[in-house]
């Protein structure tokens, strides 16, 4: 059978977000002008940039010939401190996050508890690690204890929020089925929620473990101990070869954490 149809009709994908072409082009133009103006206000001191290039080059040279040996004692102490801080803060942080995450899930917690837990999450997330570290260093003095508290605090915000979101997205059918058996609230959490969110909780915890390690290097610079403190000292002394060695070690550890966490996540599925 031969079908008869009209030919030559044109079709174009219709714009999704902004239907009116005048608005659309207006916004593009505005963005472009704003970008040009914004860039033109950035002041660049070209002579300083030139000097910086020289320093950068020395830094790179340090990288190319990293010196692991002459400051090895400092580096290893810093590393052990950082790793201890990372592991303890992740474990303690995750343990605290579990009840807060459950409390911050709208489908499990009554409104007052939900609001309280969300407030804790919001406070923890609104403060950047470095700022908290400065506070804790001022309160408890230099050293890894301040670092441990900082990372724990940051972990609680991170894990609780993501755990709560995950709990809110569980399959309610499975939860209904457990409710229908006459299960109590704790049994509901244990039988319907935990099995559904466990793989993701383990994945998030491992992810947080390597974030905490990286952060431990940053907060060390403001006095919270660990490899960051060692790195800071090395740079202050212009010992770029030692600094290079420290950075290489950090990169290696983060990569090991990355690969092994990917492996573990696959295994818990």
């Amino acid at each position: 059978m031969q079908s008869v149809f009209e030919t030559g009709r044109t079709w174009r994908r219709s714009p999704v977000l902004i239907k009116d072409w005048r608005w659309r082009w207006g916004i593009y133009l505005f963005s472009l002008v704003y970008l040009v103006l914004a860039i033109s206000t950035v002041e660049v001191n070209w002579t300083r940039v030139y000097e910086g290039l020289d320093r950068g080059w020395r830094f790179l040279q340090g990288f190319l010939v990293p010196d692991f040996t002459s400051r090895w004692r400092d580096i290893s102490t810093g590393l052990v401190e950082s790793l201890t801080m990372t592991l303890t803060s992740t474990v303690v942080g995750v343990l605290i996050s579990i009840p807060i995450g459950i409390g911050a899930a709208r489908n499990l917690a009554p409104v007052p508890i939900y609001l309280a837990c969300r407030a804790i999450v919001a406070v923890s997330r609104s403060l950047q690690e470095v700022i908290i570290a400065i506070l804790f260093v001022a309160m408890f003095g230099f050293g890894p204890f301040a670092g441990f508290l900082t990372l724990t605090f940051a972990t609680v915000g991170f894990i609780s929020k993501l755990l709560a979101e995950d709990i809110e997205e569980i399959d309610e059918g499975q939860a209904d089925a457990i409710r229908a058996t006459g299960a109590s609230w704790l049994q509901l959490v244990n039988y319907a929620v935990q099995p559904q969110v466990m793989p993701r909780l383990i994945g998030l915890s491992l992810y947080r473990l390597d974030i905490n390690f990286r952060e431990s290097a940053v907060i060390g610079i403001v006095g919270a101990g660990g490899i960051g403190a060692t790195l800071n000292t090395a740079i202050d002394r212009y010992e770029y070869d030692s600094a290079g060695a420290i950075l290489l070690i950090i990169i290696a550890i983060v990569m090991v954490a990355e690969y092994s966490s990917g492996f573990v996540r696959k295994w818990v599925q």
């Binding site: 399959d171 089925a177 409710r179 229908a180 058996t181 006459g182 299960a183 049994q187 039988y191 559904q196």
Partner: protein, 272 residues
């Protein structure tokens, strides 16, 4: 005996899902609840175990008024009402055995369920039920490793593990192929007969409802428009429930299914 009196449910959105629904279900009676999508079938059975809160009306199971219960009393009422779900609603990442044993959650304290140390009698019952539904060798598999029909059997075993006085069955066959659907419906029917267990089965497949239930209630837009025996479901009645349609075409399709099914039954008999 289940008594539903003047049950009304109005959702927050203003939808009147149920209007003044009343009926009783005697011990051992299997009732098919039919009606188009959105007629309130699901809402009705979920009101019984209070997964949905009724707006007004009374529901009594034997002498217990279910609509006023809360907290521990509600949980202890729920544990005697088994529920079977459309998408099976097994906890996918738990094993078959854990899913069946979850039927005992209303009976055991938290620490026992948390450590998975259920009383021996519960475990014996679970094994017996798995045997009854034909899955005794699958106890340690994860629920998501089973096929649809097998999952629904686990769902049935879980509901029976509750030692229920009433079964609520929500579209048990909607995710299953025609043959498995009939097997599952037959299994539910047999089990209710064995235990003299009353059941309300939501089902949108009229032919299946006629074949496997003793009584049919038709819902339309939240109201009971038919309550009678399966053979009283004439074309005229079906039209009041569902609206205009060629009902004979549907029956012819069903006859083909049932021929397939008969062959399957013969084959099954050969295996035993």
């Amino acid at each position: 005996m289940l008594t539903v009196e003047n049950l009304t449910k109005i959702y927050k959105t203003g939808d009147r899902a149920l209007k003044d629904v009343s009926f009783t279900v005697q011990a051992g009676q299997v009732v098919g609840l039919i009606g188009p999508s959105g007629a309130g079938k699901s809402t009705l059975i979920r009101c019984v175990n209070r997964l949905v809160e009724p707006t007004s009306g009374k529901i009594r199971l034997d002498d217990r008024e279910l609509t006023r219960l809360s907290g521990a009393a509600l949980r202890s009422a729920r544990r005697r009402i088994g529920m079977i779900f459309q998408e099976f609603a097994l906890v996918e990442r738990l094993t078959v055995m854990e899913n069946v044993l979850s039927g005992r959650l209303g009976y055991v304290p938290f620490w026992r369920s948390f450590t998975r140390r259920f009383p021996q009698t519960d475990i014996d019952m679970a094994f017996a039920l798995l045997e009854r539904v034909g899955l005794s060798d699958q106890a340690d598999k994860r629920a998501d490793a089973l096929s649809g029909g097998q999952r629904q059997r686990v769902g049935i075993a879980r509901a029976l593990e509750q030692d229920p006085e009433l079964l609520l069955v929500d579209e048990p066959t909607a995710s299953l192929d025609p043959k498995t659907s009939r097997q599952i419906m037959r299994l539910i029917g047999e089990i209710c007969a064995e235990r003299n267990l009353p059941a309300i089965i939501n089902i949108h497949d009229v032919v299946l409802a006629q074949a496997f239930t003793a009584r049919i209630i038709g819902l339309r837009a939240g109201e009971v428009v038919f309550d009678g025996e399966p053979d009283q479901l004439t074309d005229k009645v079906l039209t009041t429930i569902y609206g205009e349609e060629d009902w004979n075409a549907m029956r012819r399709g069903a006859e083909e299914d049932s021929r397939d099914n008969q062959e399957a039954a013969e084959r099954m008999a050969g295996l035993v």
